[in-house]
Symmetry: C3
Subunit: 337 residues, 3 copies
């Protein structure tokens, strides 16, 4: 039995196998991998696209999805073992994970950090506790990484670019009125480096470097492939000659829980919106963004509405890669089938 | 491919075909028109009856419904093309419609006006934008009209009255503590006039006239059938000799966004509750109301609990007419089937 | 047609038949008792475990569950017949029950008391009104009793103890920061006494006696079986020689709606957490609690993590007993099948 918590826990070959199966499913292959099975979709943060694509994908595989709205505040859950539970939490994750494991065949979880204390939140404690105590596979629907989005992005890149190895991937910070979760940024550097792309990260200031866990993992991935990992603050240099541009906005970790002080650094990226002039510097690059996406703030309409934009395809691919991954997890549970 | 946004976009003959099929489904006919298909039910306003009847109907047609709770405030969506999205909206309806179209085979939407600015809200901008950008049929689950309720009402009238042509339909404003959406009132005048009924509207004051779009459409429908359309403020005259009474409360459009000033006009309708004395003036009329319904405020218990009341039948018919309409839309998508 | 509102409406033999079928379902028996049928799950209070186990169980029986979130406040419903509905309630339970009965084949309801006025709330008015006006079976998903939890508990006891008749069952009040619903406590005394167990209730003070309806029913059940019903405040005496310990915290009824004054009585139970020392006084008893459960407040970790703890098994059994009960209700609706 395996979980799908991060792409780093899976080899490139294993992930490529999932992507190949996703292409077959997109082309019309059918599967009854979840026939007679149920999957709990537990949302500690709301979702429309993730909820839809998981629910529909599970039904298409013959299974049944149970959507549980467990918003922070409505289902406070204790994660510390041995705790005296005299505070807000009515339930320990031990019981939640054990009981859900009796009802369903897989548990998928969305749980964002609270933007309060990165020291503890960087450990992704809730999904890790579920994975420890559940007796069924646990799937990450976005915590501090977003591995399903990674697979959907890589599928879209391969559809458009063919082999991605040694092509250059630019993750660019883009403007947004508020500091956001770093999950998709962490995920972008993981998946691009894992699949042998040269990796560039364009940020307004060094305070926007991602957590060391992800910077180091990307470095290790690049070292294994013999590719380059460059962090840049110069826009023109960063866009020069790249094959793929990926946009994401996030909050600077040193200001976690103290966001007002981040404002002057955020202002340095005011000109970072992706537009035609920047795209002209690239090697005729494709461009994408996970959705939702603020038009004319993160990416100009002229770029979004051009053939270079892969965002709709990437969003559709969520359905296909998730089906392929659930199928792979179901196969590992019951290797004889 | 067609949408179902308003009954005015469909001919009487087309709608009658849907109603005939609904009667067959109510009598026990089965259908697998949505086998293998998914439908997104997107609720910008909450619902229990619409949500239940759509969900169950879709399952009975062999399909799968995904219910998305997109309440105003939780999923603020940009509708203006070219907008610089630096406000509240995180997503443009363009992307929302395109991506949902990749996941599902139809999109049904409930989105009430905000009661702030009728000049813009009368254009029904959200569902119109979805219909423009979606590549699958869009179905109206109540916006500023409620076409599914119209079909359910007409089905109940035909079940009880047989042919409705040239019979007289009275839409009466009834009391309610608060100003409500005009959607069902707009819809009542559309469907009664479209099916050749003489139309009367009883209101406490001319300020309760409906938007010109619906008054004109009803006039056009009546002209095409050679029937009468009368707006009255005299209760006795209005009930006299009618064959069907339909109750609805709504807010007066001139006071939109400024409801306190409407109170004196609302007070003029204090005696408009449907009761036995008023019903005695009719031609042994049937009476109905969409649900929910405040007993002894809008309609007296003695009328609700009499055989003349069609409200439960009308509510049940929602299930059947929606199934028949979804079946018709599915057939149009795939004419060979 | 029968409802499942309380175990007291069913004979021990009928309930044992349901439990026997639940064991067969747990062992892998399949059933299509709800094929082509829909069940409305109406939640006036939120739920994750009940919602999951009902939804999954209904799907496993071939049916379809519609989950309706009808939280108090979002769907205020009138329950008084003849009421002039000029207050908050937009809908009368008469219409709600009649219309849902047209859409679905069964209606399951969760509706806790409001902790305001026990004199009216002890009549369980909402579910009773639904049962009166619905034309399909109504199932209790927890109101002021929790009969599905009762069956799950009894199933777990029988799995572990074999025949439970004449064994001794201790319901012990345990600490909790807030006064809780008495539903599970009421239910525990009903089901243990109904199945012929000697019943002990351990409470910090006589103010924690349960409502007379349940105390009397338990006395009647014990009289019918010739068993004992003892209410105790002495911890050592209460645990001495018992075969099963069941933990629950609840608020004292005399302080209903006036909870601050309950605090000194609650303090008397400060030492009532179940721990190893107390369990050592028993006849090697099993111990359980419905979930959620505060560890180290209600029951010490060392007891929860010991083989004596049946809570996870009891929670799993919810799925099986609910399936068996829905199957029984479906059979009563259509005896020929």
């Amino acid at each position: 039995m395996r979980h799908f918590l991060s792409t780093q826990d899976w080899s490139q070959e294993e992930l490529q196998h999932v992507l190949d199966r996703a292409r077959a499913l997109k082309a019309g292959a059918s599967s009854s991998a979840l026939a007679g099975k149920s999957v709990a979709l537990v949302f500690f943060n709301p979702s429309l696209r993730t909820r839809s694509s998981f629910d529909i994908g599970i039904v298409q595989l013959g299974g049944h999805a149970v959507v549980l709205d467990a918003r922070a505040g409505t289902w406070p859950m204790e994660m510390v073992e041995g705790a005296v539970m005299d505070g807000e939490a009515e339930e320990h994750v031990i019981e939640a994970a054990k009981v859900l494991s009796r009802y369903v065949d897989m548990i998928a979880i969305r749980c964002f950090p609270n933007f309060q204390d990165w020291t503890s939140e960087r450990e992704d404690p809730l999904i890790m506790a579920f994975a420890k105590h559940a007796s069924v596979p646990v799937v990450n629907m976005e915590t501090i990484v977003h591995p399903c989005q990674e697979l959907a992005l890589m599928m879209a890149l391969q559809e458009k670019l063919g082999r991605v190895e040694n092509k250059t991937f630019l993750l660019t910070w883009v403007p947004h009125p508020r500091p956001l979760n770093t999950a998709v940024a962490n995920s972008a550097v993981l998946i691009a480096s894992k699949f042998g792309m040269n990796l560039r990260m364009l940020i307004p200031d060094d305070v926007y470097r991602l957590d060391d866990r992800y910077m180091s993992a990307a470095e290790d991935n690049c070292a294994a492939h013999g590719t380059r990992f460059e962090v840049m603050t110069d826009v023109e240099a960063a866009y020069s000659g790249v094959d793929a541009v990926y946009a994401k906005s996030w909050g600077a970790l040193p200001f976690y829980g103290n966001w007002d002080a981040e404002a002057p650094y955020r202002a340095k990226g005011a000109g970072f919106m992706i537009d035609d002039a920047k795209m002209a510097l690239t090697n005729n690059a494709v461009v994408s963004h996970c959705l939702p996406m603020r038009r004319n703030v993160k990416i100009a309409d002229s770029v979004v509405d051009s053939p270079a934009f892969l965002g709709i395809e990437e969003a559709e691919n969520r359905l296909h890669v998730q089906k392929a991954m659930l199928e792979a997890l179901a196969r590992d549970m019951d290797p004889a089938s």
